[in-house]
Amino acid sequence: MPDREVVPDTVPEAACQSGVSLLALTQVMLKVGATGFGMGMVGVLQQEAVTRRAWLSQQEFADGLALANLLPGPIAVDAAVYIGYKLRGWSGATVCLLALLVPAFAIMLGLTIGYLNYGQVPQLHGAFRGLNAAVVALVLAVAYRIGKSSLKSTPQVVLAVLALAAALLHANPVTLVLACGVIGALALVPRQKVVP
């Protein structure tokens, strides 16, 4: 593909200079995929990639979540692909997606075969409700950390409260995120050029 060499500056520097190995990415994503249930993955992802390993800042992680909200696909999966791409380009993104899906795929396959042969869904109501408690806590923990590190100005806090009110009134999440982004682009533009 010769035209790729012509525009080398379109590849973000972070894509090749992060120093995070594909093996480390695989390990973390396997862990996220094996322990995060649904939205809970976002919490595990943040704890592993931001809090523990500092692969990216809270701000960069929040940017990834913003992107994940605006694009199709489960939020946590999009966030994982974003992290993978940011750290190691296309190979990082691919490794992250596959490693994230392997535990779920293997377990789901086992359950499917069991179900189609025995016609039963395992009765784990209690355990499932306990897991949901953990998921709620994981998601709230992410909201708390992002809120604490990123909502620095009064307008942003006001916007967060308004956005939550709109969400409670069943506003479409994509519309909500877009609308807040437009408000930001109009009213929250930094005075000087932001240092990336």
Partner: protein
């Protein structure tokens, strides 16, 4: 022919479901139950239930549906197809975002988006909590304990998740 159709349907689903979770259920149901008749209504409900008790995205229910249609190959193909569109879009957007982040307008956009992201996270927690924990003080207590362990003591999420599952199992036995 089924395999190609499987790829097409699941790529289509993957391209239009936002936020994952429960938003996608009616859409998938329309395609695989009503339109193609690959699953009965009961099987579909059970497939979603299995997707919930499996770690990872709930959209992994695609594995079930793919397997039902075309065995192991179908399972692999459906799973990859459903995540392919968002994978491509996210990677391409991540590439652009790193470049555009320093433009003032985009920086302003992101500053505005952050409060919305926090709000959608809180909303997701409320939605999941309402469905699963509503008015059960033991589970609310468990949620609170998990939150304190995660935020205050930075306990590894693995222990919190496993501990919560075991606690729920013991409490409700």
């Amino acid at each position: 022919m089924n395999l190609l159709r499987l790829v097409w349907i699941f790529a289509k689903i993957g391209a239009v479901v936002f936020g994952g979770g429960f938003v996608m259920i009616p859409f998938i149901q329309r395609e695989v139950v009503e339109h193609y008749g690959w699953l009965t209504q009961q099987q579909f409900v059970d497939a979603i239930a299995l997707g919930q008790i499996t770690p990872g995205p709930i959209l992994i229910s695609a594995t079930f549906i793919g397997y039902k249609v075309q065995g192991l190959t179908g399972a692999v193909v459906a799973t990859l197809a459903v995540f392919l569109p968002s994978f491509l879009m996210t990677a391409l957007a991540a590439r652009q975002l790193s470049r555009l982040r320093s433009t003032p307008r985009i920086a302003g956009f992101l500053r505005g988006v952050l409060p919305a992201v926090v709000a959608t996270l809180v909303m997701a927690a409320i939605t999941i909590g309402r469905a699963a924990l509503w008015l059960d003080w033991r589970l609310l207590l468990l949620t609170l304990a998990a939150l304190v362990l995660l935020v205050r003591y930075k306990v590894d999420a693995v222990y919190v998740v496993v501990g919560a599952g075991i606690t729920g199992f013991l409490v409700e036995r």
